[in-house]
Structure formats: C-alpha cells, structure tokens
Symmetry: C2
Subunit: 238 residues, 2 copies
C-alpha cells in the first residue's frame, strides 16, 4: 500500500533555486486581515455599528468579500449580528471579560509553561527584542506601538510552545478583547503597570522555569483584565 498515487510534482530537471510557494491571498482574505488588525489595535469602538456597503467603500472592494470576512469574524465572536440582521462590534460585559480572562489563564498559562521548556537562545533574543520595544513604547506613550510589540512578545512565546491549534484559539480570545483597547488612553499608567509581569515572564523563560512562567503569564493576564474592567465599568455606567 505504498505510492499508489503518482507524485504530485515532478522533480526539477535543471537546477532551480528552492522557493516557498506563493501565498494565495483572495480579496476576502485581505479584507479579513485588515478588519482583524483594525479590531486588534482598537480602531473600532465596542458596540459600534458597521455597514457592509460602508466598509466596501472604505476599503475599495465590492460588498461580497466584506460580507464573507464579517461572517468569519462573527464565527470567532468578534462581531455580532443583531436579531434584525444588523452588524456591530461586540461589546464585552464585565462577566464576559472575566470569562475571557479565565480561559486565557488556562490556555496561555499552559503555553507559557511549555515554552519555558523549549525556548532556544534565538527565541530568547526575539522575545527580549519585543520586550525592549514594549519598554520604549511605554516610555514614549505610544499606544499603537505598545499594542503591536506586546502582541509580538506574547505571540513569539506561544509560537515556541508549538501548539498551533491552541495558539489560534488564544489569538481569537485576544481578538475579543481588541475593541476594549479603543478605550485605552495613552496616558501610560495602565501600560507601565504591565511591564512588571512582562519582566517576570522574560526572566522565567530565560531560566527555563516552567511553573514560574505560568505564574507570570497569569499575573499579566489578571492585571490586564483588571485594567480593562475598570475602563469598561466606567463607560458602561457613563
């Protein structure tokens, strides 16, 4: 039962350099990425209404790919469709934020612990670089820069853990919190407070200490959730 199929690709006959296959990128895919990025960097307000045709004009595409991208985001829970079919950005309740926090601690704690046992010096170099980028962003009060490097920091760690499916799930949880970043003022107090946990994560990984990494990741998540809860509570009552 071996090799019943013919080989999919014939071997190169003359010497040709190796290439990665070109990326397949449909319009829907581009729209999806742009929207996701917009969500993650807090450019949409929680609860904000969006219209398919409006986004189509803004992005210079026809309504069809917009619709598909929005439905993908709905499947991930980042977008809500009202009972009458209108589309809006989700606005987490405090209960839901706690829910996301607990799920994140369970999953990201596990990834952090695994990462500590697998991290290489190359990985550490990248993680430290992201950490330092975060520090300078905090220093200059650059909210967008902070969000980007914070994302890169965690993403690199979870990549090391080598759990692609769990990582995808974790990133979908991050996506849910994205709109909350809209409320994040760049005054920096929230950002600065997060660096203590980040330092602990970095050090635990460098020491290869799994349990410490898990604890530090959980600290970070708890602290972030507390900050966002405060912001959210203020806008909910206002």
């Amino acid at each position: 039962m071996v090799m019943l199929d013919k080989p999919k690709r014939r071997a190169a006959q003359s010497s040709v350099p190796a290439f990665d296959p070109v990326e397949r990128v449909t319009v829907t895919e581009q729209v999806y990425r742009r929207l996701k990025d917009g969500l993650m960097t807090g450019r949409f307000a929680p609860g904000q209404k969006v219209a398919i045709r409006g986004l189509a004009d803004a992005l210079g595409a026809s309504p069809m790919p917009i619709r598909e991208a929005l439905h993908r985001l709905q499947a991930e829970g980042a977008i809500e469709i009202t009972q009458t079919g209108r589309i809006r950005i989700v606005s987490l309740t405090l209960e839901q934020l706690r829910d996301v926090r607990d799920a994140r601690m369970a999953l990201e704690g596990m990834l952090g612990e695994r990462a500590a046992a697998r991290v290489t010096s190359d990985d550490m170099a990248e993680i430290v670089a992201a950490y330092e980028a975060m520090e300078t962003s905090v220093g200059s009060g650059d909210r967008e820069g902070y969000l980007a490097s914070n994302f890169a920091f965690h993403r690199r760690i979870y990549f090391v853990a080598d759990c692609r499916i769990t990582q995808r799930v974790v990133e979908s949880l991050w996506l849910l919190m994205g709109p909350c970043f809209f409320l994040l003022t760049p005054d920096g107090s929230h950002l600065a407070r997060s660096m203590e946990a980040h330092r602990a994560i970095r050090d635990a990984l460098a020491a290869g200490d799994g349990p410490a990494a898990r604890a530090a990741v959980c600290d970070d998540i708890m602290q972030a959730a507390a900050s966002l809860s405060l912001l959210l509570a203020k806008t909910k009552e206002g």
Copy 2:
C-alpha cells in the same frame, strides 16, 4: 448623562400576550448548522474533499450560502482550504490531536470545577438523564445515539458553569475532533471504556466536589484522546 436616547420599544398600551421573538434563520445559518452537525456525528471523513456546487445540490441551496458557511467553518479550523483553493475536511495529525487534548483539559477542567460549585438539582436531573441515555446507547452499540447523548451530557455541564465564551471555544475544539468519529466503529469497546470517567464526573458533580470533577473530566479527555489516537494512527499508516 442618563437616557439621552428615547426608549427603543414603547410600552404596550393594551394588554398583549408575551412572545419570544421570532428566530432569524438565514439560509447560510441553516447550512452552517447542518454541516456542523454532519461534522460532529462523523458523517464526513477526515481529509475528504468537498465542492461548493456539490453541497449546494445536496442541500438544495444556491452556492452562495454554502460558501459563506464553509468559510465560517474554516475560521473555526474545521475545514481547510488548500493552496490552490480547494476545500477539504481537516485531518488532524497525532500532534494536533494532542494539542486539542491539552487545550480541552485546560478549559473543560476549569468548566467542570466551576460546574460542581453551581449545579442545582434540576441540572443534576438533566445530567443524569443524559448519562443514562449514553449507557443505553453503549449497550445497544448505537454510535450516533452515543455521540448525541455524550455531547448533551458535557454540554449541559458546561452550561452550568455559565461561561458562554469558554463554552463556545470548547465546542469549536469538539468540532475539530468531529471528523475523527468517522473512524469510530460501533463495536463499542471504545464507547464502553468511556463510561467509567463519565460515572466519576456525574458523582463528583452530585457531591459538589470541584477538584474531583476537574480530575474526572481530564480523565475522560485523556481516555478519549488515547482511543482516537489509536484509530488515527492506524489509518495514517494504512
């Protein structure tokens, strides 16, 4: 800053009976549910190719809603789009199955522990009913019945935990394992083996013992993953 908007719905002036709002169910939504159900009950083989127009004929719908439903499933990871755009059911590798298993233990363990602290006698009645339905299905070797009542059993427990977002994530992880059930023969040995853990879950919940519930849920997941791994390994090499 209170009540700037006028009330969305005016109060009824004459006495009108209370109704649940009519359900909004688009063709896309129906297709999505049918496909999801088919996936969960193992009616698609792992790696199987599907075509939009083929499904459209089979379901009696136009290609458009099929496409959107498939893209939603892709966003959840249940369906894969090849580099040339063809569509197929995902076929988990052993590594990925382990990944799903670990994520499930982290999340479902948490939900089980929470459920133990919140379960009411009404909940227990439903959980026990699902447990008994599972037992009779195992006895008669009814694979579909087993899958349905197993799903109902866990779903009810996670509902009690009252974490809607985590529950959605968990169900998306179940969806990933769905196609593996295609390989499940109804001889019953795998099914019977699972009942020990299910009994432990039931008893821990009845006793309100959180840690025991967590442990039992994890046992169940470990055992199920081991069974599926075996089946999967057999087909991968064959």
